[in-house]
Amino acid sequence: MLSLNNIEVIYNDVILVLKGMSMAVPQGKIVALLGSNGAGKSTTLKAISGLLKPEDGEVTDGSIVFEDTEIQDLDAADIVRRGIFQVMEGRRVFEHLSTEENLIAGGYTRKDRQAAKRDMQQVYEYFPRLADRRHQTAGYLSGGEQQMLAIGRALMARPQLIMLDEPSLGLAPLLVREIFGIIQRINEEQGTTILLVEQNARLALDVADYAYIMENGRIVLDGTPQTLKDNADVREFYLGLNEVGARKSYRDVKHYKRRKRWLS
């Protein structure tokens, strides 16, 4: 459905962030993109959704293909109309608008109002808490509710692919479970393909069908969650487990850095 072929992204004409990044997101699946801070995960999403340009970023090489069309040069509004919706990191709800108005804004590209209305009902079914708060100012919702609103806003556009940038950011573990449960439901019931960017590797590997691990602007490992969970490096670097389960000394950390460098 979506494939990135060797893309290269440069910010401000000098800073090379993605260095030959390739990945594929098949229809109807949940694909996770993992990696530490600054690996280039968010940049990857922005490259897909066309949000790089306002930040002075540019896809300088390679191609992004969505349903047989190259989309790397389209602008953001066009890409949303084609069915890709990015839920940005940090929720980014419209604080001074009400919950319902946020949803209306999410459905901005919709033509048929009746269907959009039905979708709003559906969003309220997925997130009953939003229905209770529909006329409240979004800025005063709790963090979890704001994340729900951000996902609900995406559903309003009826996208084929939703890209979620760190939906667990700053939320309590219980809420995170709840939100991930709903993400899975959306994927199963609506058949919406999901590309999930996460720092919380354990959680992401639990829900994903396939996962990529990014470091330094390129993919270093990929596979099904099971193979990745069994991979010794992943266990050590991303899941915080090691063979013995004992605390590590600084010497091992240095060794870790060396290995990481070797990996990338």
Binding site: P54, A76, E101, N102, A105, T109, G139
Partner: protein, 292 residues
């Protein structure tokens, strides 16, 4: 008492007009963070174009006003296209300087065609005196107040229920997030400038109908600064309240203080200074929402 009532009515009329001009100003600021120094000149252009269409071309006045409004929309879109779009990514202060240039340009355009002397405007609104609670006021002024009230009601509905209106508020809140849901920010800017131009042109016509057309109309654009600072730069209700307060203050000052002090001209700026010292976001300026 009668004098007070008389002054109140005059103040309300002026306040209504100020609010209308302030509305356009607020819209542009909300959408794009730009202070538009050319707002008063939009009024002048609107007044003169309508004058030209009605008096010089000889159109009936409804057609003249309609064409002037259409011209305003085109002017808004053109300004966005030719002047603001190339300025995207430039510091906001440069864009503000550009609006000052735009202001001079529009004035030059008007003086080149119609010269610098004022002219009488064909009064299309009846100006018969009407008796309100013992005070008399021209009917045209009452109509002006009503007209502004109706326009404000329409804009309130637009921003609450229309998809495009909601998109404009969303863009004002978080431009990048708006972009991520397919809202075209360029389009939002164009709409904001068009609405600002339309409100200014309508205000220009209303003023011209009361005092005649001249370049001096643009001074009202200057008085709009105190209005929006008082009401809050990004608040539409603030534009109404600020406009009415400044309008009333001006009228009372004109009526109760000796005219050689020129307090009615000065008072808006005294208010401006006070507000900036005490409540820089204005009465209704948007507070930053902070959750703790």
């Amino acid at each position: 008492m009668e004098k007070f009532l008389q002054l109140t009515l005059t103040g309300l009329t002026n306040g209504a007009i100020l609010s209308l001009v302030a509305l356009g100003f607020v819209l542009i600021y909300k959408a794009s963070d730009v202070l538009n120094f050319a707002q008063g000149d939009f009024m002048v252009v609107g007044a003169f174009i309508t004058y030209g269409l009605i008096v010089q071309v000889g159109l009936p006045w409804p057609a003249g006003i309609l064409l002037a409004v259409i011209f305003a929309v085109l002017m808004g879109v053109t300004i966005e296209r030719l002047i603001l779009r190339p300025m995207i990514g430039e510091p906001i202060i440069s864009v503000i300087m550009v609006t000052i240039g735009l202001s001079s340009l529009l004035r030059a355009f008007v003086s080149a065609i119609w010269g610098t002397t004022g002219r009488a405007f064909p009064a299309f609104l009846p100006s018969d005196p009407v008796n309100v609670l013992g005070a008399t006021i021209g009917a045209d002024r009452l109509i002006a107040i009503g007209l502004v009230a109706v326009l404000f009601a329409l804009f309130t509905l637009f921003f609450r229920y229309n998809r495009e209106g909601v998109a404009m508020r969303a863009t004002a809140d978080d431009q990048q997030a708006a972009l991520s849901m397919g809202i075209s920010v360029k389009r939002v800017f164009a709409i904001a400038w068009s609405i600002a131009a339309v409100t200014a042109v309508l205000a220009g016509i209303i003023v011209a109908n009361i005092v005649g057309v001249s370049l001096a109309i643009s001074f009202i654009g200057l008085t709009v600064f105190p209005v929006v600072i008082l009401g809050g730069l990004d608040s539409i209700p603030g534009a109404v309240v600020g406009g009415v307060i400044i309008g009333l203050l001006q009228a009372y000052m004109a009526g109760y203080t000796p005219s050689y002090l020129a307090l009615s001209t000065v008072i808006p700026f005294i208010v401006l200074l006070l507000i900036l010292m005490v409540k820089p976001y204005g009465l209704f300026g948007e507070e930053r929402i902070e959750r703790v």
